[in-house]
């Protein structure tokens, strides 16, 4: 192990920084926060300067107060959990199905020729165009919502897995032949790990798509516990602070998903050292 770190250190010395040293204040961690903070500041300014009607754009502190109140009563936390649960079920179903079909199509020339064109057309159909059909087939209740979320996750998981597997270089396929691998070894040792970076890209997108679809399903299908339900309420009762709070919450969850996916990806793809 010590030798490996030495090798790693050698590599570092090759890529010594050439450009100007990074600024100490706007470092790696603060930079991504700069724009959101600026936007919040502008919002606050607009609300207090009397430019915007406070009924439509309540100041930030009102939204925060609303958030504190909601969470201390447990109402919003309950709704958030309901949304997350729905999202997770849909995401898991959709991405498992997408990865499985993507692998099958990536392995089988026949399947690729049969299903490939259909799936590429399917990709062209806007996700929300499925809402009426799904609500007819599965109803507007929980089943319909989960199917819709799963469909959202399915698409990117499938396409990326498929393209990851079919993008395995010919030289590796040749190696598998030389080592007399059967399809199982080929999948386990070459195809799946080789496609893994792209499968992760697919899962990452699927995570975000599924979250978008969760809110969409809650807004467009039957009212049920969930963030979308609270947003409907905010809209109908003209509770702007609640509406804005929900939007901030949605963004926050998205960011958390991004961070989790990014760090998992980094950890599982350690072999991509350079």
């Amino acid at each position: 192990m010590s030798l490996i770190t030495i090798a790693g250190r050698e590599r570092l010395s090759h890529t010594a920084p050439i450009g100007p040293p990074p600024s100490p204040f706007l470092g790696r961690h603060l930079r991504p926060l700069a724009v959101p903070i600026a936007l919040l500041a502008i919002w606050e300014l607009l609300a207090h300067a009397g430019v915007a009607d406070p009924r439509f754009l309540p100041p930030l502190e009102e939204v925060v107060a609303r958030g504190v109140a909601e969470f201390s009563r447990g109402g919003l936390a309950f709704n958030l959990l309901a949304s997350l649960e729905r999202d997770l079920i849909g995401f898991v179903c959709g991405s498992v199905a997408g990865i499985a079909l993507g692998l099958a199509i990536g392995f089988s020339r026949l399947l690729e020729r049969l299903l490939g064109p259909v799936l590429l057309v399917h990709r062209q159909i806007a996700l929300f165009a499925w809402v009426p059909l799904i609500s007819m087939w599965f109803g507007g209740g929980e089943a319909g919502k989960v199917v819709f979320i799963a469909l959202a996750a399915f698409q990117p998981a499938l396409i990326n897995t498929w393209q990851g597997v079919s993008g395995i270089p010919r030289s590796y396929r040749e190696l598998a032949e030389v080592l007399t691998f059967g399809w199982f070894d080929f999948a386990r040792i070459i195809a799946i790990p080789g496609a893994l970076p792209q499968i992760f890209t697919g899962l990452h997108s699927a995570l975000i798509y599924a979250w978008t679809a969760t809110v969409g399903a809650e807004l467009l299908l039957n009212i049920a516990p969930g963030i979308g339900g609270r947003m409907n309420e905010g809209q109908h009762l003209f509770h702007m602070d609640l509406l804005l709070l929900c939007i901030l919450l949605l963004g926050g969850v998205g960011v958390v998903f991004n961070v989790i996916a990014g760090s998992l990806e980094h950890r599982l793809l350690r072999w991509r050292i350079p």
Binding site: I4, S171, Y172, L179, G182, R270, I273
Partner: protein, 277 residues
């Protein structure tokens, strides 16, 4: 099967361990036909070490691919023990021109991958992998990933992967090209020792004429356009595998002149005198 006598007779009389019988191979590149190999005839006996030298593009890698059974679309016949090669098998292993290690597996796992189809138990496999990493001097790097290795180290892992199955035929496509001179010399000796010790039959493609003479029992010299065998030179025992032997230098010069390179300009005897001075 008509009995042991008939088999042994056939073995002695007609079939060689590896027989490349009048093999021709064409590619079409951008609508144009390229004759990669033309009427290649070569018979290799068990335990023999054959070196192949030739200009870039004369079809050396293509020939190895055909022997592996990666491509069966050619004219002529390639036979092992008289049976036509239909597909790759663990009796033939190769060190590719580029190391072709799997970047997501560490060194150990890359070598172990070759044993997936060996039918051996986990303990046996682990031991074989360790032995062969030791052989190429990389025991310390068992857990390293290919991206953490130098080109030469990666090539040594590839050699370990090719040897770990104890193949009957070892095909080597410029395996030492990326190595520094010292490692190269050491691995040449190592290769020779392993091949002798295991009784492996080896076919080595190389651009290094010294290497071809040093390791080969015979040297196949190929010419390009179309890829063909120009001549096959035996390496007699008199050459004795001593790089400074006048016979060694004479044979090396002969190979070079077949390759169209003017002689080194150093008379063998003069060189010998210089070296001993």
């Amino acid at each position: 099967m008509t009995g042991p006598v008939a088999i042994s007779e056939q073995g002695r009389g007609q079939s060689h361990a590896l027989e490349i019988a009048d093999v021709s191979k064409r590619f079409s590149v951008a609508g144009r036909r390229v004759q990669a190999l033309s009427h290649i005839r070569l018979a290799v006996d068990d335990g023999e070490f054959v070196s192949i030298v030739g200009a870039s593009g004369c079809g050396k890698s293509t020939l190895l691919r055909l022997v592996l059974g990666l491509d069966t679309d050619y004219d002529g016949d390639i036979r092992v023990d008289g049976h036509r090669v239909e597909r790759p098998g663990l009796d033939r292993s190769i060190v590719f021109q580029e190391h072709r290690l799997l970047p997501w597996l560490n060194v150990e796992a890359n070598v172990a991958a070759a044993l997936r189809q060996s039918g051996l138990g986990a303990a046996e496999r682990g031991e074989l992998v360790r032995d062969h990493l030791h052989l190429v001097g990389l025991d310390q790097f068992a857990k390293a990933y290919p991206a953490q290795l130098s080109g030469g180290m990666a090539q040594r892992v590839a050699i370990a992967r090719a040897l770990v199955t104890k193949p009957r035929f070892l095909l080597l496509d410029e395996p030492l090209g990326a190595l520094d001179a010292l490692t190269r010399l050491r691995l040449q000796d190592e290769l020779q020792r392993i091949v002798r010790h295991e009784g492996t039959t080896a076919v080595l493609v190389t651009h290094d004429v010294d290497e071809a003479v040093y390791l080969g029992d015979r040297i196949v010299i190929m010419h390009p356009h179309p890829g063909r065998i120009a001549t096959i030179l035996p390496v007699t025992d008199a050459v004795s595998r001593d790089r400074s032997d006048p016979n060694f230098i004479r044979l090396r010069d002969e190979v070079l002149s077949w390759l169209g390179v003017s002689r080194t300009g150093i008379d063998a005897d003069a060189e010998l005198a210089r070296r001993s001075a």
